[in-house]
């Protein structure tokens, strides 16, 4: 999976800035996408392209359980978030709803990857290649169940009885 990085070098990007509370009544995915990151970055929509990745710090997606957050980002074309850590509900919403991949990275990747870098993520080898800078980093492997839900294409397609 290949794409370019939009980098927010800060911790605790919360769901209120990813999709502000006034839009919680909206359930049209395309409309939600038009408000993604409205509380943080007014230029997000001029930057984002189909297939992009967001890179950020610790505790990404903290706050509310609103599934609107991964929905809005994925419907802007974001395929993965690379972060030092994730808040739990955002993480499981992203995976169970098959909206985007939450990729946990280490400090080296966080420091080494810059805005606009072209990145290749391979979840079979847990490798992140920075094509622009010709560097390679390790991502934290998905836990067993998360890997299986991702491979199945979301929670509803995962069959726990077959384990």
């Amino acid at each position: 999976m290949r794409g370019n990085i939009i980098k927010y070098p800060r911790d605790n990007i919360d769901t209120d800035v990813i999709i502000p509370g006034q839009y919680l009544k909206v359930h049209d995915y395309a409309e939600l996408a038009t408000h993604a990151m409205e509380g943080l970055d007014p230029d997000f929509h001029s930057k984002v392209k189909e297939g992009d990745f967001i890179l950020s710090g610790k505790n990404f997606g903290c706050g509310s359980s609103r599934e609107h957050a991964p929905i809005a980002l994925s419907h802007c074309g974001i395929k993965a978030i690379l972060a030092l850590s994730f808040a739990r509900i955002f993480y499981r919403n992203s995976v169970d709803g098959a909206f985007l991949l939450p990729i946990e990275i280490d400090q080296d990747a966080y420091d080494g990857i810059s805005e606009g870098d072209e990145i290749d993520i391979d979840i079979s080898t847990n490798e992140i290649k920075n094509i622009t800078k010709n560097q390679t980093y390790k991502m934290k492997p998905f836990s067993d169940i998360i890997g299986k839900i991702i491979a199945s294409g979301g929670l509803f397609k995962y069959k726990p009885d077959q384990d």
Partner: protein
């Protein structure tokens, strides 16, 4: 095993579980509201298109529904969401739907305890992050998103990674000017807003034994702000009494074994606790009120699942009695049952005499949705649980989180005020 491990072991039909085990646990109760409900309906629509059957729920008697975020309907879209939700509950035979304008209704987490919707020992999930609140009754109470709630509605179970548990021990009775809100702000300030991430935060000790059930609800509510999977207090006679006053008597009290294991124990002395605030823009950005910055407040907000239970209103009324507010102040009881008691016991008169506007139960301005949101540069002191940028309105507004006593005292002076100055 500790209490959470015992509940999850029972729920998943295992003799024992340990932290990091992944289990599919049977769910005893599930809740959704006027934001997560329409989100779940959207998931059902997607599933239908994929040929997955959504014609009946696993057990509609275990499902309950609240109207709270956008009531009274803020606009056409939120009115339509309520209609959608009503059609859904009718279609699927969900009888426990607490409707705005029809007797008891309120913020979902408040309804969960006011109406005894959740029992000790239950595996309880809700489509809202503050579902953690109800762990104060001794249940495993955990917030989930729309897809997960849709999965529970159809399958009756959901996966969990068994969390490790942080145990917070509070020694001694809190002083009269310190509330549970101060305690949880102190804890979040100490461990940080991801300090409890993916974990259980359990509260115990003589300070918790002394606390009312409502105070324990405040503690568990804000475990979400430390990133916790759930908050919990082992149920005692107070919980039994609280539930039996609400007509619930048929439940088993689950408690941890004497050799229960906790990954970390934190100890606090009640006598050292002080009134606290969380400054903008994070619940972990805390300080004692005595060291609060000197800011001119525009508004005091006494509302939400965190800070508008009956005892919260009682604490605010104690300060506001016979005084006038200096800044715009709103009290929004968190459920109609609380509103009614506040009326019967004279609290509403105290508020109105003080110049406060009393509004209907709603999540409203707490999440910046409607009914009193903040303008650019406005500064609010609030009994709610979050103060992220733009949380209560304009992205350049500011919210200070505080206890109902601090919010009431600050309403009187227009500055962030320690309640001891007015008691």
């Amino acid at each position: 095993m500790n209490i959470v491990e015992k509940i999850l072991a029972r729920g998943s039909g295992k003799s024992s579980v340990a932290p990091d085990d992944v289990v599919f646990a049977d769910v005893d109760k599930v809740m959704m509201h006027d934001v997560s409900g329409p989100g779940v309906i959207k998931v059902f629509d997607k599933l239908k298109k994929q040929g997955i059957a959504v014609d009946k729920l696993w057990d509609p008697t275990k499902v309950w529904v609240a109207e709270d975020h956008f009531v009274p309907s803020a606009d056409k879209l939120s009115a339509e969401n309520i209609v959608k939700l009503s059609n859904f509950t009718k279609q699927y035979g969900i009888e426990k739907h607490f409707k705005y304008g029809m007797g008891q209704y309120g913020i979902c987490h408040t309804i969960s305890h006011e109406e005894a919707m959740v029992m000790p020992g239950d595996v309880y999930v809700g489509g809202d992050s503050h579902t953690n609140t109800t762990g104060a009754l001794g249940a495993f109470a955990c917030g989930l998103g729309h897809t997960d709630i849709a999965y529970v509605l159809l399958h009756g179970n959901i996966w969990f990674k068994v969390p490790e548990t942080y145990y917070f021990k509070l020694n001694g009775k809190l002083p009269d000017h310190v509330m549970a809100k101060d305690v949880i702000l102190k804890i979040i300030g100490d461990i940080g807003n991801d300090g409890g991430a993916y974990r259980t935060m359990q509260f115990g000790g003589s300070g918790i034994d002394e606390m009312s059930v409502e105070s324990r609800l405040t503690l568990c509510n804000m475990t979400t702000e430390a990133g916790a999977k759930n908050g919990i207090v082992e149920p005692d006679q107070k919980v039994v009494d609280y539930l039996s006053q609400r007509g619930a008597t048929n439940f088993n009290l689950v408690t941890g074994d004497s050799d229960a294991e906790y990954s970390k124990i934190f100890e606090y002395e009640s006598s050292e606790m002080e009134p606290m605030i969380a400054k903008p823009f994070s619940p972990d950005n805390t300080c004692v009120v005595r060291e609060a910055p000197s800011v001119e407040l525009d508004k005091s907000y006494i509302g939400s699942c965190t800070g508008a239970k009956y005892e919260d209103l009682e604490a605010a009324a104690k300060i506001l009695k016979g005084r006038k507010v200096k800044i715009r102040t709103e009290v929004l009881p968190a459920a109609i049952s609380i509103y009614q008691r506040a009326m019967e016991n004279g609290l509403l008169k105290i508020f109105l005499d003080a110049g406060v506007t009393v509004g209907p139960p709603t999540c409203g301005a707490c999440c910046g949705a409607h009914m009193g949101v903040l303008a650019k540069d406005e500064i609010c002191i609030s009994t709610t649980n979050r103060n992220f940028p733009g949380r209560m309105g304009h992205i350049e507004s500011q919210t200070y989180l505080a206890s109902p006593m601090v919010a009431a005292a600050s309403a009187v002076t227009g500055k962030i005020t320690d309640p001891r100055d007015l008691l």
